[in-house]
Structure formats: structure tokens, C-alpha cells
């Protein structure tokens, strides 16, 4: 919030007339579509070698001609799309009309806006044109994009829509906001240092994603090296000792992946700044492709403190702020409002800022010991099945009975160790009106959310659990399901009742301003 009344802004009156995309949007749409096409089909063309085979069969000139024809067709379609695309503000409602073959009209009311993102690729910076995206409470599926509008127009649109939205929310919840949030204090809340950026690159999940992306290219690269550069006697370069050679190979691969991961983090989060504008939290980042995301605090549902295994060793993690419809798993995480490269203390301070009184992560409770026994049995069964398959594949093994006993004891010990670690990794705590749930063995994710942000809950009891007096509580929150397995049954029921009372007593925090629900004792 900037403090001015968005309803009287001059931009608002300008936006009341029909607006068009910037002419540069045509080029942007072409480039974006081409990049997307190449990205989607790159593994298929390069990985399987089908692309090269096709080019060799058809001929370079014909392929070039086809590509030029496609480009021309794309240009014509983009021009037609540009002509049909127009938008305007009708009061607090954004109206968009578009469609190539089918004319469509979208209307987004300001009170339903949850998230606004602005992207500016490098090639659009000289023209001061951005891509503008808006999401409603329905989540990512509801995303609507204005592909190429002037920067000033995007700012005016964002401020008008979110200004109107926050005005609605503030007027709907006069008693809930603590004083600290009532008065906006614009300023930089967090800035990512180069050291933090490098550590985030090393400790984020990008390293695994890059490894998975590059793995299909290994075989073609090996074949290409073998065919094109036969004079390079690669085997002669390797050390004599096989162990040293394998160790060196692993080290080189890890170093390459770590470097790529740091470069990816640099690309995405260079110059990361989180600005606090009271109700609006704004983050800007990106080396070539600048991104600006605006998070409305009244729409924030769950904050996740995420640490990968390496992140726990290096003492770094990142925060993910989830709103409604934040499904799609970890793969979609990069699209979310993410605060990278923070230490635990910084993370706690930021969560404290988002929800006063909830920042400090409390000591967590463990679930029932019965769960540890169940985990032990499950792991033991899994290991036993694995060994049985190995024995079946390897053929009959003439081991003495004591050796089989030793194998069984080792498996039981391994399973016990794994079960203990997994049991310890799972934890939860209720701290006032906030719930903390941690999960993950090597990498860990701790979800922090007010009790009233639970969407629905489920209490599950298997026949074994009923005999042991335990129950599993499944909580549906904005980013998916959180499971608290094997809680003592009275505790699970008490927690469920407490959560329901919090959700149902909500009046002002309702996701739909205007819906008022009063809580009354039902007994």
C-alpha cells in the first residue's frame, strides 16, 4: 500500500478505457512460444537423436524453409492475436477480451485477486514492456496473463487491483491486524547477498533438477565424442587406479552440477530484494529475466521453511509462501513467492513479520512410538523383499544358516535405524494459534500456518490403530495435505476439535471478504 486512495488514482480513470497490448508483445509472444517449443522438445530431439536423423534425411535447406514458413505463420497469428486482445478496468473488475478463433471474455474482480506477478525478459527491457500475470483464489489454474504491456500500465493495474483488494480486506477486518501491520512501513525487508546466493544455489533442489534434465544427454554426448573425436584417447587420461578414477569422475560430475546449480540460482535470484509495503510484500529478482511478485498478506495461507540435506549441513534454507491453489508439488515451487538463501534466524524473523507471534520455531512433539514400530516393520518388509529378489536373480546361494541369520539381523538393525530416524524427523507443535508440522528425513520441510487456515481435515483409524488407541490426522491446507500419523487418539480428536473451532470462528479472515460466519457453541 502506498497510502494513496487507489479509487481516486488518475491511472484508474485511464484504465477505464479499452487498452491494448504493446506492439512489442507480438515479438514477445513469438519468442516465448519458440522458446517453450524448443524447451519442450529439446530432450526428444537431442536425447534420442531423432532431430539429427530427421535433418539428415530431409536436408538442411528444406528444414530451414519449413522453419521460416512456421515463423511466418506464427507472426501472422501473433498479429491477429494482438488485434483481438484488449482489456480495461470496469470499476474494480478487470475485463479482458481475447481469442484467436474463439472470442473469450474474462472478468477478474479485485476482491478475488490473490497474486500478481510481473516478468521482464532481457530483450524487453529496452522497450519497457513486461508480462503481467494475475491469479485468483482458484489458484494457478486461474492464471490470466497480459503478454506485453507497458511497465507504467502494469504498475497502475497492480496497484489499483491490489489496492482495492487490500482496502476491502482492511475494512472487513478492523480488529485482527496487530498495530505493526496497520501502519505500512515501506522498506527493504530482506536482500540476498552474493554469499547467500551461492549457498542457495548449492543447497537448493536445482542441483537434482539439473542432473535429471541433463541425464538424457549423457549417452548422445558420449557417442558424439566417440564418433567425432576418435583421436582423443580419453581412457589414457584416466588414472591407473580404478577407485581413484571413479572418485575423480564423481567429483567432476558433482562440481559441474554444483556450478550449474549456482549459475541457475544466479540467473533466477540475482539482485533479490524483498520489499515490505505493509499489506503488500514485493519481491524483485532475476539476472536477465527480471521478475516481480506481489504477495498480499491477507491471502497468505501457509509458510514453509525448507532445508535440503546439504542446506541443513550448510545452515541455509528458503521460505515458500503459499496461497490458495498452490498445488503442483515441488516442481511448481519456483513459480511461487520464494525467499531464497536465508538462515534459520532470518527465516524466523521473516515469518514473525508475516504473522506476529509465530516466528520462533518451537520444540516439536513426536508422534506415538507405535508409528516407529510400524515404520520398522514396513522397512524390514521392504528390505526383505529386496533381498529375496536379489537372491532369486542371483540363483541359489549355499549359505550356512548362521550367515542367513546374520543377514536377517543386519536387515533388522538397518530397518530399526531407518525407522528411528524417520520417526524423529516427523514432528508437530501447536504454538498459540499457530501449527508447525515438520516432515522429511534428509531434506526437511516445516509448514507454519495459523490454525484457522486449515481447509478441511480427516481423521483416519485403521483396525490396528483402533486397537492401539492411535489415529492419523490429515489436514488439507492451501499447498496440499499434511499428515500427522499415529497421534494418541484423544490428542488427535482434541486437535481436530481445536482446529475446527478456529476455522469456524473465523469471520474476518475468510478468503472471500463479505462472507461472515459467526462461531457459536454447538453443545
Amino acid at each position: 500500500m502506498t497510502g494513496e486512495d487507489p479509487s481516486s488514482s488518475p491511472d484508474r480513470f485511464a484504465l477505464a478505457d479499452w487498452q491494448r497490448l504493446s506492439p512489442w508483445a507480438v515479438g514477445l509472444m513469438l519468442v516465448t512460444a519458440s522458446l517453450s517449443l524448443v524447451r519442450q522438445h529439446l530432450p526428444l530431439l537431442l536425447g534420442a537423436g531423432a532431430g539429427l536423423a530427421l535433418v539428415e534425411r530431409v536436408g538442411w535447406r528444406e528444414v530451414g524453409g519449413g522453419a521460416a514458413l512456421l515463423l511466418l505463420l506464427g507472426l501472422l497469428l501473433s498479429l491477429l492475436y494482438f488485434r483481438r486482445f484488449r482489456f480495461r478496468l470496469d470499476g474494480d473488475v478487470l475485463v479482458i477480451q481475447k481469442g484467436l478463433f474463439e472470442h473469450r471474455e474474462f472478468k477478474v474482480a479485485a476482491r478475488h485477486v490473490q497474486h500478481i506477478a510481473v516478468h521482464q525478459p532481457l530483450y524487453l527491457r529496452p522497450f519497457d514492456v513486461v508480462q503481467w500475470q494475475v491469479e485468483t483464489l482458484a489458484g494457478e489454474a486461474s492464471r490470466i496473463e497480459l503478454p506485453g504491456i507497458r511497465r507504467g500500465l502494469a504498475d497502475a493495474l497492480g496497484k489499483t487491483l491490489q489496492g482495492a483488494n487490500s482496502t476491502d480486506v482492511m475494512s472487513a477486518k478492523p480488529d485482527r491486524e496487530p498495530e505493526g501491520l496497520a501502519q505500512p512501513t515501506p522498506g527493504v525487508r530482506y536482500a540476498l547477498t552474493p554469499r547467500g546466493l551461492v549457498l542457495h544455489g548449492l543447497t537448493s533442489r536445482s542441483i537434482y533438477v539439473i542432473a535429471a534434465m541433463l541425464s538424457p544427454l549423457v549417452q548422445p554426448l558420449e557417442r558424439w565424442l566417440h564418433d567425432r573425436l576418435p583421436h582423443l584417447d580419453l581412457l589414457a587420461w584416466l588414472p591407473d587406479s580404478p577407485l581413484v578414477a571413479v572418485g575423480l569422475g564423481i567429483a567432476v560430475v558433482l562440481l559441474a552440477l554444483a556450478t550449474l546449480s549456482v549459475l541457475a540460482a544466479w540467473w533466477r535470484f540475482h539482485g533479490y530484494v524483498l520489499r515490505d509495503e505493509g499489506e503488500r510484500q514485493v519481491q524483485v529478482s532475476g539476472l536477465f529475466h527480471r521478475q516481480e511478485q506481489v504477495l498480499s498478506l491477507s491471502r497468505l495461507q501457509v509458510v514453509e521453511w525448507v532445508q535440503t540435506g546439504l542446506g541443513r549441513v550448510l545452515g541455509r534454507g528458503y521460505l515458500v509462501c503459499h496461497q490458495f491453489g498452490a498445488l503442483g508439488g515441488a516442481a511448481a515451487e519456483s513459480r511461487r513467492f520464494l525467499v531464497p538463501g536465508v538462515t534459520l534466524a532470518e527465516g524466523e524473523a521473516l515469518i514473525e513479520r508475516l504473522w506476529p507471534g509465530t516466528g520462533k520455531l518451537p520444540p516439536l512433539n513426536r508422534v506415538s512410538r507405535v508409528y516407529r514400530r510400524v515404520l520398522w516393520l514396513r522397512t524390514l518388509l521392504g528390505l526383505g523383499a529386496g533381498v529375496a529378489i536379489l537372491v532369486w536373480l542371483a540363483g541359489p546361494m549355499l549359505l550356512p544358516p548362521w550367515a542367513w541369520g546374520l543377514v536377517a539381523a543386519c536387515l533388522a538393525g538397518l530397518a530399526a535405524g531407518a525407522a528411528q530416524l524417520r520417526w524423529q524427523a516427523l514432528g508437530w507443535a501447536q504454538q498459540g494459534e499457530t501449527l508447525h508440522v515438520r516432515r522429511g528425513l534428509w531434506g526437511q520441510r516445516t509448514s507454519v500456518f495459523p490454525l484457522s487456515h486449515v481447509i478441511s481435515l480427516r481423521l483416519c483409524e485403521s483396525w490396528l490403530q483402533r486397537r492401539r488407541g492411535v489415529a492419523t490426522l490429515q489436514l488439507q491446507v492451501a499447498n496440499g495435505q499434511l499428515t500427522l500419523p499415529f497421534l494418541e487418539e484423544p490428542l488427535a480428536r482434541a486437535l481436530a476439535d481445536r482446529l475446527l473451532a478456529s476455522v469456524e470462528s473465523v469471520t474476518e479472515n475468510s478468503p472471500e471478504p463479505g462472507r461472515q460466519t459467526a462461531y457459536a457453541a454447538r453443545r
Partner: protein, 180 residues
Amino acid sequence: MEFHNQVIDPEALPTLASVPLVSVSPRLAPCQAILQWMRWLLVTAVVLHFPVRDEALALWQPWVAAATGGVGLIAIALGWVEARRRAYGLREHDLIYRRGLLVRRTQVLPLVRLQHVETLSNPVERAFGLVRLACFTAGGRGADLVLEGLPAQRAEAVKQHLLARLGGVPPEPLRAEEAP
């Protein structure tokens, strides 16, 4: 602005355990049995007629199909018992649905989270006069709670009650013949 943080007495909270639930229609059990029988018949037919080239294995094919059919019969029997035990409850502020035989699941959907409601029925359900009530919340990709086995008239009454709550109308007890 004044910030409230009232103390809540856990003993005074309404409890899930004390809610009297109402069984769904007894017609759900045969309806589910027919639907499951159709699925298992298809699976058994596929197993029986799957082209197996190895003659030794082909000799076993009828027995495997029979075993599949046997498993299907057990699943249908368990499904019948499970359908008879399903129950639901409508409170002032939430909707409760309990299902499951070996694993008993009690789902609670606070009405403040409800976004829209749908009624669905396939031809078999229509033959039994049953309707499914699907409840959706914000941001979900599918229905968050699907209430199966409601007679059409009662499903409509529950739907109207939920829609009235969506529109912000204060809760009103259902009439005796509509009460779940």
C-alpha cells in the same frame, strides 16, 4: 487497532466424537455392488482373454481369472458392508462424512471454506434414486468432499442448505422430513 487473542477452554469445544451421524441410504450398498461387479467383470474378462503365447502359462490362465474373480467377490462383499456403515452429519458450521471399513475415515469440511456444490449421478445411481453431492473449496483441483448415497430429495435439501450458507444466510434447521 485492538488485537484479540482470547483464551479458549478446550473442554468447552464441541467435539467430533459427540456428533450423531446419520446413515446414508441403504440402497447405496446394492448400487455400489453393481458398479464394482461391472468393474471386476471387466478385469476378469481381460485376464481370461489376455493373449498368452507360452502354452504352459496359458494352462494357468483360467485359474488366474478365477482367482481374480474371487478377489472381486470378496471386494464386492466388503464394499457392501462398508457402504452400509457410511454415515454423514450436518452441523451448523461443518459437514461430516464417515466411511471405510478396515480404515475408518471421518472427514470434516467447515462450511466457511465451501466455494460451490455439485450434484452428480451415473445411470446406475439414478436407477437406485441416489445422488452424489460434491463439495469444492478454494484452489482445489477436484472435489474436497464427495457425499455418496444420498436419496435425490435429501441431496437437494442438503445442497440448498449449503448454498444458502454460501450466500451468507444464517443457518436454519432443516425441516423434519429433510433433516439428515
